[in-house]
Symmetry: C2
Subunit: 212 residues, 2 copies
DNA sequence: AAGAAACTAAACTAAACGGTACGGTAGCAG
DNA sequence: CTGCTACCGTACCGTTTAGTTTAGTTTCTT
């Protein structure tokens, strides 16, 4: 039931496409859009340059394909993260658990680099940047807002504008380490303890402001 | 008493230097480091390319000169902003005034572009990015922390770690519009009313969490 | 086994890149 | 006016870029 038999035809092509995507992602992430060269990408993928152009057309399209794929990843990540959010009694515990996971995921070096790249090219690829915003923080805000609305309806939180509250909560959790990571090198790792401290204090602030 | 007579010698040279800096800033901000060309910079400054190289050595040095100058601006801005912070009775009023001004300044399109550029090149120019972080948000955090410590000593705020509280406050005020601006186009303007709403709610949240 | 499709390396184009060498010109001392 | 110095713009250097072409080889299909 696997595609490991002889990797015939389309499978082989798809695999090559994936290899190119991976190589291109690595080069774009480390050199930026203008700094990345198609030769380097082809070499890194161990593939000839015409193959790259056959699969993706031109440099812009290749870039767009990468970012689009990362947007899908981000969307999926947001979805699973929020689905794991329990609707139980212990609001503080639930939020803390969510906050700790959230900040741990978002500060991964790989995601920091993607974020840098999209921010850098937001003026040259405005549609991609907007789509990314809607898929990543936007989706997180919407999901949190829905949750907050439910809890507020039960009188267990005091929230008049759930979307706004969700945005404050999200950035309360992420801002400090995220901004440090943006300006310090990409490979700056935070300790688990430090991330958890940021998350826990964010939850405390949020509940002090929006608690019943 | 002015230098408008014949603009002889050093004055003329200094003026040309400033013109080049301005042109280079415009090109770097809109094209990024790798995407900016020295020809375009020279043309925009209405100056020959050798003149650019006489004044700044090479591309990296020119880039560093621009960012360094912007760091000075940011430092100065942070300083004056916090000096205007009154130490009076009305803590909420003071913080609200500060927050409104702060968010209005930081979301200016010009500063958004500088932020984008520095984030984009943080891996290639780590020292510049770190210096920027220390001069802009870092300085703001330190100044706010000092203020919070004073107020906490009077028992009018309940803060055990002033630096951490300052970071939360700063990003509470800035994060929502700043992140939107990063991913939407550089010229996305916020209405005064919207910015003030973000600032006021940030102050409310902060005081709910750190009030006496 | 034969044909079709896709892939490869390599050379190539035209343009743009960062950086420099040269020939002219402007201002200044005598 | 003459000679000197210092700068400035033009034209150029070698390299690299995105993207294409060619010719030969591998690989799947039938």
């Amino acid at each position: 039931m696997d595609k490991v038999t002889t990797e015939s035809g389309a499978d082989r092509s798809a695999h090559k496409r994936a290899t190119i995507l991976e190589a291109a992602r690595a080069v774009f992430l480390s050199k930026g859009y203008a700094g990345a060269s198609m030769d380097e990408i082809a070499a890194r993928a161990a593939v000839s340059k015409p193959t790259v152009y056959k699969n993706f057309g031109d440099k812009q399209a290749l870039f767009a394909a990468i970012i689009t794929s990362d947007i899908s990843d981000a969307e999926e990540r947001s979805q699973t993260l929020v689905e794991a959010l329990p609707h139980g009694e212990d609001i503080e515990g639930s939020l803390r658990k969510f906050a700790r996971r959230h900040v741990t995921v978002v500060t991964q070096p790989h995601l920091i680099k993607i974020r840098r790249l999209i921010i850098a090219e937001a003026d040259r690829f405005p549609e991609l940047a907007r789509t990314w915003y809607e898929a990543a923080p936007g989706r997180a805000h919407a999901n949190l807002a829905e949750l907050f609305q439910e809890i507020a309806a039960q009188g267990r939180l005091n929230i008049s504008d759930p979307m706004l509250a969700a945005e404050y909560f999200n950035w309360l959790v992420l801002s400090i380490p995220l901004n440090k990571a943006m300006f310090l090198g990409s490979n700056t790792q935070f300790s688990r303890a430090a991330l958890h401290r940021y998350a826990d204090e964010a939850v405390r602030i949020f509940l002090a402001a929006y608690g019943p």
